[in-house]
Amino acid sequence: MNKGLVFERRFVLVLRIVLGAIFLLAGGMKFRAPLALVKAIEAYRLLPETVVPWLAISLLLFELLIGLLLVTGWQWRIGALGASLSLLVFLMVLASAWLRQIPIECSCFGAITFLGVTPQAMLFRNMLLLLIALFCYVADFKKQS
């Protein structure tokens, strides 16, 4: 097999496992304190309060599911696409909060601080993760085409 192709596959493998582990960690931290996530979503002031608890639980389940797909490798391309879409939505929500000058706290990893907590750091972190997720998805999509 072409050396370049082997390297690309290994690179994608490492990236998807790292991405999956990040999603599992984030989902796990939220699972331990789901109400912190409810309050974090409420702080964005985008949705009615009655919907937020349902959304919070659904989101954390979705996050854990994506993490599992990426780490185990089963249907991992779907996991990469799910990760890309969820990160894209979060990026838009984050940008809207920043534009509206709402003081928000991510609550993405519970008490763990991962690459900072400022709005700029959160935007940077999400763009980085989005690029990784998209790269993984596109690399596999191209391979399968």
């Binding site: 304190a33 789901p34 109400l35 912190a36 409810v38 309050k39 974090a40 409420e42 702080a43 608890p53 349902w54 959304l55 919070a56 639980i57 659904s58 989101l59 389940l61 979705f62 599911l65 249907q75 391309r77 779907i78 696409l81 799910g82 879409l85 003081p103 706290e105 008490a111 601080t113 907590v117 400022t118 709005p119 700029q120 999509f141 399968q144 085409s145």
Partner: protein
Amino acid sequence: MGKLIRDFSWILGMALVCGLIGGIVTVLRPLELASNSRSSFAQNFSKISISEFQKLMQHKQTLILDARAHDFFRLGHVPSAKNVSREKFAEDWAKVMKQVPDLAQRQMVVYCSGIDCDDSFQVAEKLASLGLTHVLIFEGGWEEWEAARLPKESDE
């Protein structure tokens, strides 16, 4: 194109399943969710209202601590507050120790973003672990302070 549609269908299916389970959990376990609302040590500290906070501010011995991240503090904070953020507690507290004498004797009031945030409780817990027990929480935080249009300071 067909693959892309198939992938999106998978995502939609996953989202529907998660949404369905989320709905069932929200309906069946609302009380358990509520019990996680604050850090377990939140009950150890007394909470004060904005008017009590303003009264305490008149005493020179009161030390006001802002538990938010540095960037938010720089944008605006309660006058004379010191920034002791949750994530850089050790570093920030070391600075306060150099600036403020007789810390053990002082009444401290900690606040963060607002009623929804937990950082003030976490900072208060860290202070308590250092033996500083005169710590109160202004739970309304910066949001309530700003909403009341009270004076503020910024470092910009």
